[in-house]
Amino acid sequence: MSPHFLMCPPDHYGIEYEINPWMDRARQSDHTEAVRQWEALRRLLETCGATVSCMAPVAGLPDLVFTANAALIHVRTAILSRFRHPQRRGEEPHYAAWLADHGFRIVRPNAPGAFEGAGDALFCGETLFAGYRIRSDIATHQEIAGILQCRVIPLELVDPRFYHLDTCFCPLAPGKAIWYPAAFDTYGQKALRDQIGDLIPVNEDEALRFACNAVVLGDRVIANTGCPELRRQLERRGFTLYETPLDEFVKAGGSAKCLTLRLDEDE
């Protein structure tokens, strides 16, 4: 069965508000270029053997394009996001509707606070690694552990530029992941080192190119351009890095991973 992703075309994408250090309304994205980059990513995924489903873009919801934040998908369960910032809360019903229409069991966490889906919750093997403080709250992660009956390791994110876990951590395979250590506090760094045997660090320059915001398809890794050191590290381990330009989305604080939601996670 081929990997299956949810994407949302960037018809209404743009920098309309500022909710992270990347966003600057004075530095608008080039719409034509954004569409071209998004299409290129989609084609690359399909070339790599993935199936891509698309949800309808909605005017006034520029960040709907970042489908990774729709929910955390586990088998056929979707734990829906509750966004920290009101600017993105309008996306929630659209994600919920699409996922419900496509057969997912919808779960809304009861815990108070925010949770931003696969942007802050990533499985590496059987363990769910969960970023908290900037966009998601730890209470939701603790509730998810109970819902999914799995081990959840909360990791505090301390650098606002890396506001979601998927901007500084990317599982490649059980026991193997890419990370940008300075995005975590010392406890999180130690917990990750304790739990994951092979952690591939990326330097600050490549982290700022969103090297960690990569899509993994077996031994193929898709990321933004400009990450030569990551390429070397991955090739040494038998992975191939496919680079595709995504700078128009980096302007909003997102890249390959943010633009996709894996729907067949851990099936």
């Binding site: 603790q142 552990a145 109970g146 406890y187 130690k190 917990a191 739990q195």
Partner: protein
Amino acid sequence: MTNPSPAARPCIGTCVEDVEVRGHIIDSLILPKILDSIGAGGGTFRIKEITIGQTPADPSYALIEVRADDEDTLQRILGRIADHGAVPTATHDCRLGIADIAGTFPEDFYSTTNQRTEIRLGGKWIAVQAQEMDCGILADPVGRTARCIPMTEVRSGDPIVLGHAGVRVFPEQRSRRHESFEFMASEVSTEKPKQVAIRQIARELRANREAGHRTAVVAGPAVVHTGSSEFLQYLVREGYVHLLLAGNALAAHDIEAALFGTSLGVRLESGGPVEGGHAHHLRAINRIRRAGSLRNAVETGVLASGILCDCVRHGVDFVLAGSIRDDGPLPDVITDVLEAQRVMREKLRDVTFCLMIATTLHSVAVGNLLPAWVRVVCADINPSTAIKLADRGSFQTVGLVTDVAPFLRALVEELAVMDSVGWPSQAVISQQSRL
């Protein structure tokens, strides 16, 4: 990263909150992070309960007591650790009900213990004053105060705490008692090395006096029967006793001894009966009644010696509580039991050490009124007295099974050595020993 110093510090500070955290708090290092945050924020902690998950999917759980010296520091710490998932266990104020009938609590009232207690009002924890077992809690939501209130004192319209929510109790730490009574634990035994125990009690009494704290003595008439009055008088004269609690009998026998040299008609010096002696105690009571009060009797020279006389002369407060079988009674005896209890409660308020000697009913009555942090030593030939005290909730009682005379003699000897005043003289001891 993990600074061991906060963990090594004892849990101290007057402002306190229990927090709980659950999840995979060990592998993720969330628990050490929380504990370190408490220390870094200027607080201390004690892990009251911890459950570690057995399988990788099982969450762990920790209940943590957080303390700080002031409320602001505590709130800062709580805010910081809340971000890591540690949340207060109590999030609701206590529930209040209005007393609808005077002298009764509303149904479902919170029944107090003698342990330190706090209630949550307006989001803040408030210490309950006048801690006493078997009472209710009267709350003042406006003035943010609370105190224990006995059932009989409830007035219609009083706001009374209901249920257990928003109430927390701090059991007295055993270790605090171990500082002075480690060797005795709190059990009653006839086999304990008494001399060592008595020396410890003497030290405690002396420390209490030196610290300017108040000591109460609860005494039964056996103190007089056994010829031990002199020893108790020593304690009174030397400032070791600040409050004497007894019944009509102790006072009547003390006065009989002072006026006639007998106790229930038996000559204290020789142990032999005296003709007409059976009426001595009633004549003694009558003489004091004629004087109007014990104080008048002392001031007019009617009563010139004895325990009560020394109490009057040395300004030591006394409460004589009556019972249905009393002869007389003496004019100072409070015959209304509720009034007696009220007066005892009031006078016991600042007492920090209580010595109970040879009386069951008065010891239990006083024990019921004392908060758990008041140190209680019960010396009685009958082991059941200390057992009864403990059974009725005065768990802090240290029991010493001993005859009253050797106990008080040894206690006074220890104190005398400590005071280095050379009292009692060998002659006095020899004289007392013959009795």
